[in-house]
């Protein structure tokens, strides 16, 4: 085992991975980062320069994508980014307590989100604003979490998009259970079958719940797509602090396919996600997708990435921007006029203005809210606390206390 390539792609028969894999730190990092520059393991259909790469294996999954469809994917990404930047600004202006930026991950989220069928279910972590958009959750419905007025205001069952889960990895088990339920109800096995997709990050792959989710989904043949957005950083910790092995390769140990896709390529992400979801809805799940991408902004608005990563890295990833490559492709190869781009820009500005207007006028939740919907069948103890507190609080109304 001398070169990173050898270690990253052990040949069958080389020996058990546990004894074969004794990589140096440099090999680990090189293996984890082996990516777009021609690596055969990374699925890419649209280069950072906006050129379409023919791929006999994956082209069939996007052969129906018209110029109009690609423009819509572009629009989704631009609007998502605009919402993200506006919300980030709203935090800076004191209108939000915190924001969790998705900058740079638009393609991973829009590509996978648009691969979902209406009957599918999605379990996000807390950065999936782009996926939320594809599930019909309004950007304004995300704001309460970050302004502190609620813990998520959309209807997770109606939108088929679960509430954000902040404890890292918890949702992976919840998604596995949901997908088991889809199978138990006989909703798996044909083109109309159901599937579930679950989002988590590179850091989450170290969590026990994610490991257990892999085990559960595999032994119960759950129709679950594990969608790992490897954005290279878990706050300040790089992926090599989470794994020796490229994350998609972990799937092999659990007995299901794993694949690494260029997470900055919306077309490739769409293709791979469609394939994975189809495998699941036909009863061949689960599948792990590692979307190789980059968190272009901070972990949250409270984070300071200059303390732990070099600006060179950021600059290098800027050249792989998920939106820019689609724009170039649309201009060069799909006869898209400036008028279209101007129109999307106007639309995004309008969306941002609406978001801002909504944010600044969000009502404070009433004090009684903290007692509400704790239990389906109530609790006399909690009810008594609520009544006592509201009576106490009412004593302050209009008086000098």
């Amino acid at each position: 085992m001398s070169s990173p390539e050898q270690w990253t792609h052990p040949e069958p028969g080389v020996g058990p991975a546990a004894t074969a894999a004794k990589p140096t730190a440099e090999q680990v990092i090189a293996g984890l980062r082996a990516t777009s520059e021609g690596g055969p393991e990374l699925v890419q259909l649209l280069t950072p320069e906006g050129e379409r790469v023919p791929n006999s294996q994956w082209d069939p999954y996007v052969s129906d994508v018209t110029a109009e469809d690609l423009r819509n994917l572009y629009r989704d990404m631009v609007l998502t980014r605009r919402v993200d930047r506006e919300a980030n600004a709203l935090q800076r202006q004191g209108q939000l307590g915190i924001w969790v930026p998705l900058l740079g991950q638009e393609a991973a989220q829009i590509g996978s989100g648009r691969a979902l069928k209406p009957q599918d279910m999605a379990f996000p972590s807390y950065r999936e604003h782009g996926v939320a958009w594809t599930r019909g959750v309004k950007p304004t419905e995300l704001l309460g979490i970050f302004r502190g007025t609620d813990h998520g205001s959309w209807d997770p069952l109606a939108n088929r998009f679960h509430l954000y889960t902040i404890v890292i990895g918890n949702q992976v088990l919840n998604a596995a259970g949901y997908a088991m339920g889809q199978r138990f109800e006989g909703k798996v096995g044909d083109d109309d079958g159901e599937a579930t997709i679950c989002y988590f990050g590179d850091g989450a792959t170290s969590q026990g719940d994610v490991h257990e989710g892999f085990v559960w989904a595999s032994v119960y043949d759950a129709p679950l797509v594990f969608f790992c957005q490897n954005n290279q950083w878990a706050i300040s910790e790089p992926t090599e602090r989470q794994s020796r092995l490229p994350l998609y390769q972990r799937a092999r140990g659990y007995g299901f396919p794993g694949i690494r896709v260029d997470g900055n390529d919306v077309l490739a992400t769409l293709a791979v996600s469609r394939w994975a979801l189809d495998e699941c809805r036909h009863g061949n799940g689960p599948v792990l997708i590692e979307a190789f991408t980059y968190r272009m902004d901070a972990h949250t608005t409270t984070d300071d990435p200059t303390r732990y990563r070099l600006s060179d890295e950021l600059e290098a990833w800027k050249l792989k921007d998920p939106i820019e490559r689609v724009r170039v492709h649309l201009v060069r190869h799909m006869d898209t006029e400036n008028e279209f781009f101007d129109q999307v820009q106007d639309e995004s500005d309008q969306l941002a203005a609406e978001l801002r207007e909504f944010c600044q006028n969000m009502p404070e939740p009433p004090p009684g809210r903290m007692f509400s919907e704790v239990y389906a069948e109530g609790s006399p103890v909690l009810d008594a606390q609520r009544d006592a507190y509201l009576e106490y609080a009412a004593g302050f109304d209009g008086g000098e206390h």
Partner: protein
């Protein structure tokens, strides 16, 4: 295999009552709940073919199939975490945690998801799931098999917690817990699994979240639950021989607690002893003492006394008889209260 006691067929009249152990009662209750609602599923380690290490789920997989009685992989967070997803999907999972001391890998899912999801969604998601936990000591087991962790869960908003103490309650309470739209931690007194009682299938059960006076008395009140109920009833019988009439209340519901019968009793007796196997510090027993002194301050003729496990890890089993409250320790506390 027991007679099909819940058979709804008019042609086969069922036995209206039967002498059963507490364990068998739970088994019959689970069976009845599964027959009543096809969305009820049982999941846990060894609950299928083996019927659980205590045989509480005996025969259920054979009769209801592997998709309703799941032998799960061996990971407690996985059991609870996937049950959450199944409940979101519309199932009513009944999870078995094999032993009290093994619940902690699932603590995160229970506290972070099970307890909070309804509140987080402001009522859009219900989690009608039951987490069965055989708990308490007295069976001569190795470490982690004899613990009483109920206070952790009673402390957690969003969960409901109950404990049965006898076969009759076990049969009804497990079915009521399964029907409840809130997540319920169901603590089973494992050392009482083989206690027997006559179970009348036609009886009208008590509400789930209600405590019950099991023995009337005038001199002092004992509030207890789970495995200590039997100990306290025996203590009351012994006290009666000395002319002291103790009122024994089985709390049954641990969160929310129904303390009204305790308040009523203490207002008459003026004396309260709280008995629990769990260590006393920051526990249900301290909660009961705090609330009763607040509600019954002028009725109390002595401080509220507690008889509990000690604030030390559960000991090796050769010492558990010293650790666990017993008849003598209960009566000693009663005497101290009455002699205050």
């Amino acid at each position: 295999m027991a007679a099909p006691v819940m058979n709804k067929s008019a042609e086969s009249p069922r036995t209206s009552s039967q002498t059963v152990t507490l364990g068998k009662s739970l088994n019959l209750g689970l069976r009845a709940a599964m027959e009543a609602d096809p969305k009820v599923i049982v999941m846990g380690e060894d609950v299928g073919k083996l019927g659980g290490v205590f045989r509480i789920t005996d025969g259920l997989q054979k009769d209801f199939g592997e998709q309703r009685v799941l032998d799960t992989p061996l990971a407690e967070s996985g059991i609870i975490g996937t049950a959450v997803g199944l409940a979101i999907r519309g199932f009513r999972p009944v999870c078995e945690i094999q032993f009290d001391g093994f619940i902690f890998p699932a603590f995160d899912q229970i506290v972070s998801q099970v307890a909070k999801l309804r509140f987080r969604s402001q009522g859009k998601i219900n989690l009608p799931m039951v987490i069965r936990v055989p708990f308490g000591g007295g069976i001569g087991a190795v470490e982690h098999h004899s613990e009483s962790p109920e206070s952790y869960f009673a402390h957690t908003a969003g969960l409901k917690v109950v404990s049965c103490s006898n076969p009759v309650d076990a049969y009804w309470m497990i079915q009521q817990a399964i029907r409840c739209d809130d997540p319920v931690l169901f603590f089973e007194p494992k050392r009482r699994y083989y206690e027997k009682a006559e179970l009348d299938f036609d009886a009208k059960p008590e509400p789930l979240f209600a405590s019950r006076v099991l023995r009337k008395g005038t001199h002092a009140t004992i509030a207890t639950y789970g495995p200590m109920v039997k100990t306290c009833l025996e203590s009351a019988a012994a006290a009666a021989e000395e002319g002291k009439e103790l009122e024994v209340i089985d709390l049954r519901a641990l969160s929310p607690m129904d303390l009204t019968p305790v308040y009523d009793s203490v207002r008459r007796t003026g004396h309260l002893v709280v008995v629990s196997e769990a260590p006393g510090e920051a526990s249900l027993s301290s909660e009961i003492a705090a609330r009763v002194q607040q509600e019954c301050f002028y009725s109390l003729e002595a401080p509220i006394l507690r008889v509990t496990g000690f604030d030390a890890p559960y000991p090796p089993s050769k010492l558990e008889e010293e650790f666990l409250p017993d008849l003598d320790r209960v009566l000693d506390a009663v005497d101290r209260s009455l002699g205050w």
